[in-house]
Structure formats: C-alpha cells, structure tokens
Amino acid sequence: MLADKALELIRELDRTKDGQMPAFNEDTIRIVLEEMNTLFEQNQRDVNATVAGDVRYFSGVHLRHAALERNRRCLLAYLYNRLERVRDMRWEFGSILPADIRANMCEPEIIWFNKYNKNLASYMRSLGEGTGLDLTQDIKPPKNLYIEVRCLQDYGEFEIEEGDTVVLQKNTTHYLPMAQCQHLIRQGILEHVE
C-alpha cells in the first residue's frame, strides 16, 4: 500500500516514548523519498497527458497526490517529533547528552542541539538585569537552603561554592546547599531524603 514505509517511521516513534531516542532511520527515509520521486514522476507524466486532452488519468493524479502529501506529512512529523525530543532532553539531561543517545542522533540534530544549548544559555545569561538566571534550577519551589541527600552512585569529589569539597561515595549521606546539588539529583546521582 502507498505510504506504508512512511508510517513505519511514525510507528517507530510511537513505540518509543519517555526519553528514548531511536536511531535515526535514514534507510527508511530514503526509501520513502524514492517512493515520492516515483509518484511525482508518474504524476508529471499523467498531468502532461491530461493537459494534452486525455482526462481519464485525472483520478490517478489525485490519488498519487494524496499519497505524496501523506508521505510528506509522515516525514515532517518524524523529524519534528524527534526535534521535540531533543529539546526536552536539554531540560532533562542537561547540556551534555549521554553517549548512547548522541549516537542515535543524526548530524543535523546534533548541530541543532548545540545551537539550542547556546541560545538557551545566552538567554539565561541575559535575564535578571545582567546577573543571569538559571531556568533549569528550582523546577519545584525550594523550601530550604540546605537539603539532605544520599549518593546513589560513586561520583567522586564535588566542590561546593564555599570552597569545601565533599567526596560523593555510594550510600553516603550529605547535607548540601540545594542550589548546587539539584542538577545531581535530577541526573540520578543523588537522592533527596527527608
């Protein structure tokens, strides 16, 4: 059936939700583009025939045109939804993505991610009358300046702003300034205990 390959792409995205990034499916995209080329050429031929006065091909032109539009929609939706995921990952993972996710992105997506990173950073710097404001901080309203955290994995030395360093070892608990350990909590290295 027409446009089935394009639907495969959509199905693939639909199956992988919640922060998964399926590998960029360049092969299928190429097949879809080839299908579109063929459809377009056939349409051109039939349109020429129609213009020449043979109107019986007209219904076929409509049918192929619908398939072309469907293919286009699937391809654009595939790219757009992937980009949306890349954008969400900036907020969830931080400015550096894990290597296995990066490996599943195509070159333009990586460039886009870096640009988005840069734009976001310069926007955050421009906030607060020149002092800058980290929008990725304080996703939930903070209640205390210091919080108790437990390490979930070995992280190594961690320097806090006052100049002290703490060694974040697995299963140790610490009392740290919230502003500085939030990102580690979001990334699953620390756990907030109460």
């Binding site: 027409l2 446009a3 998964q20 076929g60 409509h62 979001r186």
Partner: protein
C-alpha cells in the same frame, strides 16, 4: 487541499497520523489508470470502476469529498448500526482498544464520509465517551499503580490519556497531602535511560 485540513491537534501529531491510517471500505466510482497494484488480487493494470477496496482513511478522505467523487466510502463495521446498538446498550463494557485504538479520533475523521449517517455517528461518539467517562475517572482516582494495566486494557488511546492524567493528579495530590511534594526526584527521562542501561548490562 483546504477541504480535508483537519489536523488535530496539529499537523505533526503522531496519534492523528496513526488514527487516519485505519481502513475504510471504499468503492471506486471512476477508473484509476496505472494504479492496479493497489488491488494486487485483481492482477489488472488499472483499478476499474466498481472495484471494492479497503483504503486507509487519509486516502478515502482525499478521494471522497463534495468536490470530487473518485471513490465512495462506507463506514467501517465498528461504526455501523450494529455496533451503534451495542454501544447504546452499554458502552462501558465494550473493549474499545480492540475496536481500534483510536476509536474517537477515527470517528471524527469519518464524519465527512458518513453522509446521511453523520448525525448518528456524531451522537454515537459523544454518547459513548459520556457513558464511559464516569467509570474512567472513577478508576483513575481509585486504583493504585500496580493494577493499572488491567484497568486500561479496554480503553482507547484518548481514554488512556484521560486515565493517566487522572492518575497523575491523584499521585500529586497524595504527595502534597503527605508533605512530600517539594522533594526533588530524578527526572523521568534520566530514570528511564538508566533503567535501560542497567538492564542491558544485566543481560
């Protein structure tokens, strides 16, 4: 093609694309030349007028409108009189996921194709959702995380979204009641990512 622009919620929506893929029984009113491969069983080079085929909804919508009438579409069985009667009897026990995981969305896309049955179809959709919604809300607000799978097995995608929204509200409310709403947690994407990483290492 302004006539079939009903991209809801937007052009890029995955669920809308999937919903418009479901098959609709169609009958070709005009012959379509050089596209015989649409109907491989016939072996013809062309699709001749009068051929009956199941076309995806998006194609049926494009070919059957007030302006052009290349095919005439019928409602799929699951939206016909017989199922309408079943829905009227008791909508809340029907397995909508089996009838098509995008039941409501497909139903909306079929409205322009339904012809004289459009009014019946429209009221079928609204009535079905109205009857089922109370049960969905009830189970969303009162079931624990463990037995969710059994609860959502019979729901279509739209209802699942509602169910999950209800569950999220319930969990957030419980966190707030136990004064734990401010506790920071690992972001969901990172959590999922780590889980997959560990299961890959284990295996």
């Amino acid at each position: 093609m302004a006539c079939n622009a009903s991209y809801y919620p937007n052009y890029f929506s995955l669920s809308d694309i999937l919903a418009t893929q479901d098959r609709v029984p169609c009958k070709f009113e005009l012959s379509v030349y050089n596209l015989g491969y649409l109907d491989p069983s016939s072996g013809n080079k062309d699709v001749v007028a009068g051929t009956k085929l199941e076309l995806p909804c998006w194609l049926a919508r494009a070919l059957c409108s007030s302006r052009r009438h290349i095919v005439s579409a019928q409602l799929p069985n699951t939206f016909k009189e017989r199922y309408r009667e079943i829905m009227k009897a008791d909508a809340s026990v029907v397995d909508l996921h089996k009838l098509g995981p995008h039941y409501y969305e497909l139903g909306q896309h079929l409205l322009p194709l339904a012809g004289p049955e459009a009014a019946a179809l429209a009221s079928l959709l609204t009535q079905t959702l109205r009857e089922r919604l109370r049960g969905i809300m009830d189970s969303a607000q009162n079931s624990l995380r463990d037995d969710v799978n059994a609860q959502i097995a019979k729901l279509d995608e739209l209802e699942r979204t509602l169910f999950h929204a209800g569950q999220k509200a319930l969990q957030d409310h419980q966190l707030w009641l136990s004064r734990r709403a401010h506790i920071l947690t690992t972001s969901t994407m990172v959590d999922q990512h780590n889980k997959r990483k560990f299961s890959a290492i284990d295996s």
